[in-house]
Amino acid sequence: MRLRDRLFAFVLKLYPREFRDHFGADMAAAYREARDDAAHRGRAALPAFWTSVALDAALRAPGEHLMLTAADLRFALRSLRAAPVFTLVAFVTLAIGIGANTAMYTIVDAVAIRPLPFSKSSDLVRIWEKNDVLGIAQFSTSALNYLSWRERSRVFEDLAAWRFGSVTVATGNEPVRVRRIEATKTLLPVLRTTPLAGRNFADEEVRVGGPKAALLVEAFWRERFGGDPSVVGRTIVLDGVAHTVVGVVPDRGLTTPVEIVTPLVIDPAQESRGNHTLSTVARLRPGVTVAQARQDMDRVAQQLSAEFTDDAQWSTAVASFYDWLVPPATRTTLYIMLASVALVLLVVCANLANLMLARASARSRELAVRLALGASRARIVRQVLTESLFLALAGGAAGVALAWQSIPLVRRIAAGLLPPGGHVSLNASVLFFSFAISVAAGVLFGVLPAAMSKSGDVAAALNSGGRGMAPQQGFARRVLVISEVALATVLVSAGALLVQSYSRLQHVDLGFTPERVTTAMIGLPDERYSTGAAALGFYDRLTSSLGAVPGVEAAALSSGPPLTGANTGMPVRAIGSSPLGSADMQADWRFVSGNYFAALAIPVVHGRTFDRREFGDNGLLSVVLSQTLARALFTGDPLGRQVRLGNKRVFTVIGVVGDVRNIGLATAPRPTMYFSTGEFLWPAMTIVVRSADEIPVAQTIRRTVAALDPQLAVFNVQRMQDALADDASQPQTTAWLVAGFAGLALLLAVIGVYGVLAYLVVQRTREIGVRMALGATRRTVTRLVLRHALWLTGVGVVAGAAGSTVLGPVLASELYGVSPHDTLTMIAVPIALLAVSMAAAFVPAWRATRVDPLVALRAD
């Protein structure tokens, strides 16, 4: 074929098939003749001709499609209006299905899809210290090691370090405690963050004894200073010390949510390499891979451990910056939720395909007539698909509206998952997702009915008097119902496992009693509490005055109560005979006052807790061990035995207390050492108060602190039970969401089973009538229908159970105390599904027994 003929053929291909079938040959001839004619008229006529061909391809061919679609849409609207119940069910289920998917996707988009707010964040890495001997994979670094890394590494554009903490800001009449990081001057450049106003720290501000500077973070700046840019240059008082505000940093420009940034001033003379307090981030030089960075840092770490005894056992770990901000576990949870809501949409589609098939068979006569009158089969397929796509897009639009309505709820669900600067919103990419799944859904539930309408036998449909359903259509409907039941089984199993897991988490033995316990934090500024004795004296007065308040049962002090404290660990070994020999083991540690155990109702198993003997500079160096730790370190009675810590200090065991879940509900109690707050304090400590129900604890604490020192801020006041609820909120959300989706899927599947059986009864009315005329009892007829239902659901639940078994491991990371292959669940869920489906089948079964043989036989 000549090139120009091929071009004409191509242009024709762009037309709707029906159009082409009818006019194609004439049009091709017309193109050829018009081209020859143009050639005869002279060279100038040819470009005009080809332009008109191009216009045909670009405008008229799509125009023909558009007109056809408009006609199909009119037809679809007419047929949907004729079946209002079907239309309503389809619209509502699609809206719910697509809406739920859209809502879930807004979270996935905000957490895992949108890029981090840092320019070229793929070049950022976290650098941790690592200690293989102690089994520590990621640990903070010391200021001196940070300086050495910066000096000796060759792969980074730059490194930055920061330390998280809090500070009291004196603004107005009430001091507030806010979060702050002390950061190196390099932090903003490494993150590629530019201040909204003012500037980054200057060289002299990070020097020892240099001028005191501070950066405000955007949200705090707006809230406290009304977003006034003239705040730059003003003085604010932090922990009693005047600082000059040098700039304002955007909220999205930092990795950790804080209110204030001050310079990290490193005085090498005061630092030790064993003091691990800094977090580190680095930006790779262009072209450097993470593997190369790892190699280079290994080299640096080897040098350092050879040179400094404090670094002897330590090496470094170069880790993903992204994984740190968006942990893989979070992503897994999200994808599980998205997958379960996607399964719901699949069930919706199967259900609609089923309903469409039922309609198609009711309409088979109409279709047959149209085929007989010369409508092409392609045309009818197109019409059916137009109808399903129109429904899906309308449902999708309503779903997006639903999702938009539920944004506040979605934000609450996503609150704990968002990376810095992350924000849940219905943006263009979410809308595109909704559009895409709407189209996919429309095709999915339309394609089967469309294909079936094509294969329908015209003569058979015309002869059957509208009752007939092609046999393959009945088969398709059964397969659809079976898949619905199978999908529902998978979801109900997952929901059941997650709910069980959550309930186990709620009934876990904490090792302490959270009821009526409130915690609050206080930080003492160095300037006014420069000596340990001054701080000790303050806390002593505070706990005794609090303890004296009527209604307060115990007021204790801790460096970190359960669930709120930092995760602290140190190597420890027993002196003398021990099951571990002379080996170290890693144990968590906390500073607590003697009545801490009473305040949290942690049982004292042996010996005693701290008292005046462990108070002040000359106090006894005593330690209280958790039961697990005592058992691991000592075979006999641990009281009076000694332990040596990683820092070489020796302590005598005076007591053993019960194990406590300090880290979280799902984390098994860890071996823990307790030291006396009479001897060791942190810059910020937590007050733990157990009280009678009726007293306003937060107020009492604030008033008591203010009476002792009006300049101190009390912060992070929290009921222990709220901390527990927070810790369980993610598992709770996951469990209830998946369970909710499962319920929805189950409902749809039951509707599907009901629909198919009801249809079956109508279809077999004649047969049932004959059977009854021949003496079949109502019981036999009921059994006939129920047997069919049992068969459909049976295959469905078996397939679903098999699916759950295969998918089980995906859930494992979300489950606590229950196996993804939990036998009871794997048996109970299918049985429950069978029972529910059989219940749904009873209605059509009952209706079958009402068939009047005379009426049934007269129908033809």
């Binding site: 159009f19 040959a25 008109s52 216009l55 391809a57 008229r60 007109m67």
Partner: protein, 116 residues
């Protein structure tokens, strides 16, 4: 024929009117219509096959023209021939009346010069 069904088609797209005129004196096949239109307008109006057959499809749907079931013996068997229906003639008449009235108005107001 009710006037309102005719009015529904007015104003007629220019391509429709050209086609109706081209087959006003007898049936023609597609390419012949294109040629006739070009000849009558001295080449000023050249329809592309896309415009032509798109218009033919709509005119067939609207009942303005019809396809001949038997083709003239002298011509290529494969081509489809079209002729104006009675309804098509009525619509064409209404359209030309409309245009004539328009022309008259334009002359009456002096917008365009009166005929000499």
């Amino acid at each position: 024929m009710k006037p309102d069904t005719i009015d529904r088609h007015l104003p007629l797209p220019p391509a429709f009117l050209h086609i109706l005129i081209a087959i006003g004196d007898g049936e023609r096949h597609g390419y012949a219509i294109m040629q006739e239109v070009a000849d009558r307008t001295a080449g000023r109006v050249r329809m592309s096959p896309g415009t032509l057959y798109g218009s033919i499809r709509r005119m067939l749907d609207d009942g303005l023209i019809e396809e001949l079931t038997r083709r003239p013996a002298h011509d290529d068997e494969r081509r489809r021939y079209y002729r104006v229906t009675r309804f098509g003639r009525a619509v064409a008449a209404a359209e030309t009346d409309r245009l004539a009235a328009l022309l008259q108005d334009a002359r009456a107001t002096g917008l365009v010069p009166r005929k000499a």
